[in-house]
Amino acid sequence: MSAQPTDTSLAFFRERFDLDDARLHGALGTALERRVDHADLFFEYTTQDAVSLEDGIVKSGDRHIEQGVGVRVVDGARQGYAHSDEITVDSLQLAARTARAISEGAGGKTAVSVCGGSRHDLYPVEQAPTELPVGDKVALLSEIDAFARSLDPRIQQVMASLVCVHKHVLVAAADGVLVGDVQPLARLNVQVIAADGGRREVGYEGAGGRFELTRLLDPEAWKPQVREAVRVALLNLEAEPCPAGTMDVVLGPGWPGVLLHEAVGHGLEGDFNRKGTSAFADKLGQRVASEGVTVIDDGTLPGRRGSLNVDDEGTPTRRTTLIENGILVGYLQDRLNARLMGMAPTGNGRRESYAHLPMPRMTNTFMLSGEDDPEDVIRSVDRGLYAVSFGGGQVDITSGKFVFSATEAYKIEGGRIGAPVKGASLIGNGPDVLTRVSRIGSDLELDHGVGTCGKDGQQVPVGVGLPTIRLDQVTVGGTEG
């Protein structure tokens, strides 16, 4: 059995930056010299590397090291934050003094005791993804290029990249939390452009997660991925303009779960609800979805892109039910918003890096399976749209309006899948859209590990999942009136 991630991370920072308990106590003590509610330190050391291919050659490799510490002081709802890319005693003290400048109150020390640990070990890896020899990564991309081009002469361009991250984090908080984590993350992207006559279309398929990199390097894994990207590009060469208007929509399983992420997930984040700025504010205990709809956020799924042993405030992640059988039952919380709302933290306090404040964020967000046969769900629609894959989406938290764009979609005519359509987008209202769910398939799938969520300028990796579902009367944006 390998060492716990906390121990590994603690040892890493102790050795690399000479960070002993006395220094952590010292910085926290400075941050806490005035009476405040909370203070914490977030240390990070991240190695990221990437190789990328286009025009048939792996033309560049890159490697980046990012290190730093962020010091936060919280007083009521106020937060002071300072960060530095130097991890030294001086910079820690300076950051701590800057951060505490938000609090005007008189002095009074809070005791600092250090203990703690993480319960999970969700992504133990033998070899960090950034440690695999670059030659192996280069060879993989060249094979992918040749394979994609061999599948169809209409494939004109292949762009592939392999991005690997190895991140050490350590959180030390004034209430005694001292917890670290070591977070591997890898992602393989394959994008192809197919051309036929004057027409050009793109196909993309990605895969990734927090696991041994060898999993992505296995031809049994990457060949189907490449075939998928090629299939989508060729399909889109045949796609017709999308009809516009209100119609019944069937979403396929897996990645279309991005609907949950945009339409309801963001609106259930604690900060927006504490401030009363979410369209879901004050709806706890009310019906927000059809009967049978249960939506979960779960940061504890082994090896998933959205999973974490602990969040970026040191709280162990967990499985949180957001909507149970159509009723809103939970919010996603970080420490600050949980405290101010009198709720418990849910392990959803996340940040992009040491240069950012934590906020409530999703991990892996999905809807549980229902009982319908997925084929019956499609057969139930007379005239509508079957959307299988999406590009990206966006939501206005306050009005609840969301939009997202399909990258693979088909007309449904007389209960059967018809011609592929391009340029489809779905638009709707978050608190309303899940009340339009009329069928839930038995085929929950999680996405392939490519999701990135942006909030307030911060990007974090996330996962989504969905069974096949039918939504009644949704607005579809297209060009055909």
């Binding site: 490697r63 890319d85 361009q157 987008s425 638009i427 607005t475 944006g477 060009t479 009136g481």
Partner: protein, 454 residues
């Protein structure tokens, strides 16, 4: 640990070491910055954030045959031993990639005049955190005071960044410039009959003194949120679409991406085969100019040390030039246009500097008054633009125009078309060019688009 390297010394040390490690050509970029950001909400300080950041990027080019193998690394650890270790790794990493005949530094022509583009005002160095708190507070207070229906707020923000970029390469070029940017913004929430609407306004400038009055920013944001109240859906239709300058600029951003050399040589732009052709209405002139004084995208030299310049991208509707760095220029058999964009952690790539559509005639109000029936778009969201095909389909909200009067708020709509058809159908270009970033546009009207609703 030794003291971190600074400025030109860091760049010079990295270049020397990466050459010694086997790079035939190399360049290095140091980006340093200090930032302060504050947010005020409910008249209380919500967040105060301060930071100092530095990152050094190193690129190694190892000659093979007619081309180079290359790699890019970056580090925020600037201790001399860390920089040297990174330089060694960069050269080693480059040797693992394949030779690319189009790779390499520019063949010469590095910037020898470095005009002062007024990208920083030394007087702003003394601004306190309190000055930003005061600006944010004034913006929020003005927004909340604008109308009793402004009941809540996502807060108001004010902030500044100041720093410098030092770039050097193995051809002997080394130069630096300092920049700053300041901003103030407000995001108030209006509510009525249990439904809420948020909107946003911002002012961004190189000098603190050039920012719009924070109270005016707050009032504009409030007026924008208020006019969305009571928004309805409309039936799916085809009609004229007027874009306010603050949303028209996102159409220009799509165009900028599609005239960038990278998208063109990859065949990933719907314009790739259309150089010299009519791609827009004759009313459309698009400029990219990296030397606009105080421009938010200005720089005296680009990410490869070449002088920036003015390029007319679209001339009377005709596509006249791509935006190129030296790599995409070689791929296309052309010359760089001085448009290499570069972050410390990335290889150069072609991108816009200050990119705008030249103003025409008429204000937003005049163009709306001249529109018998259509949609005035005040908000666009979602990511529904495909650069390979030009297909555009995004979420929209705004005001419905009937007989020239924008009286009825509408929402939960999508507007869709192909960007090429949309550019050709532009039948009004306003005089009201608005800079909120490095890509800017005046009011634009497209004669007809599909608007999807109920």
């Amino acid at each position: 640990m030794s003291a971190p390297l600074e400025g030109r010394e860091a760049v010079a040390r990295a270049l020397e070491r990466v050459r010694a490690a086997g790079a035939d050509q190399a360049d290095a970029l140091l980006v340093e910055g200090d930032s302060v950001e504050v947010r005020v909400r409910d008249d209380e300080i919500d967040v105060v954030k301060q930071a100092r950041e530095r990152v050094l990027g190193i690129r190694a080019l190892v000659r093979e045959g007619p081309g180079f193998r290359s790699a890019v690394t970056s580090t925020s650890d600037l201790a001399p031993e860390a920089v040297e270790r990174m330089a060694d790794e960069t050269a080693a990493l480059a040797r693992a990639t394949a030779a690319d005949p189009a790779a390499g530094l520019p063949e010469g022509g590095f910037a020898d005049d470095l005009p002062d583009l007024a990208l920083i005002d030394p007087d702003d160095a003394g601004l306190s955190v309190e000055a930003r708190i005061d600006a944010a507070r004034r913006a929020e207070t003005a927004a909340r005071a604008a109308d009793p229906r402004i009941t809540n707020s996502q807060g108001a923000e004010a902030g500044s960044e100041a720093g410098r970029r030092v770039y050097g390469n193995s051809e002997g070029f080394i130069a630096e410039y300092a920049t700053a940017s300041h901003g103030v913004s407000a995001q108030p929430i209006a509510s009525q009959n249990g439904s809420m609407q948020v909107d946003y306004w911002t002012s961004v400038a190189r000098r603190w003194a050039d920012l719009e009055d924070p109270a005016a920013v707050g009032r504009t944001a409030a007026a924008r949120a208020l006019r969305r109240l009571g928004g309805r859906r409309i039936a799916t239709t085809r009609a004229a679409v007027v874009f306010e300058p603050s949303v028209a600029r996102s159409l220009l951003a799509h165009l900028a991406a599609c005239v960038g050399g990278g998208a063109v040589y990859r065949g990933a732009s719907f314009l790739a085969e259309r150089m010299g052709e009519e791609i827009a209405s004759p009313k459309v002139n698009v400029i990219d100019d990296g030397r606009l004084p105080r421009g938010l995208g200005s720089k005296p030299f680009d990410g490869e040390g070449l002088p920036t310049r003015r390029n007319q991208v679209v001339e009377g509707g005709r596509l006249a030039t791509w935006l190129l760095d030296s790599y995409s220029a070689r791929k296309l058999g052309l010359a760089s246009t001085g448009n290499a964009a570069r972050g410390a952690g990335s290889a150069p790539g072609a991108g816009p500097t200050n990119f705008w559509i030249e103003p025409g005639a008429g204000t937003l109000d005049e163009i709306v008054a001249d529109t018998p029936r259509g949609l005035l778009v005040t908000s666009l969201f979602g990511h529904g633009f495909n650069p390979v095909t030009g297909d555009f389909s995004r979420g929209a909200a705004g005001l419905w125009i009937e007989n020239g009067r924008p009286d009825r708020p509408v929402e939960e709509l999508t507007i869709a078309g192909n960007l090429l058809d949309m550019l050709k159908a532009i039948d009004a270009v306003g005089s009201d060019l608005l800079w909120q970033g490095r890509v800017a546009a005046p009011t634009l009207r497209i004669a007809e688009m599909t608007i999807a609703g109920e």
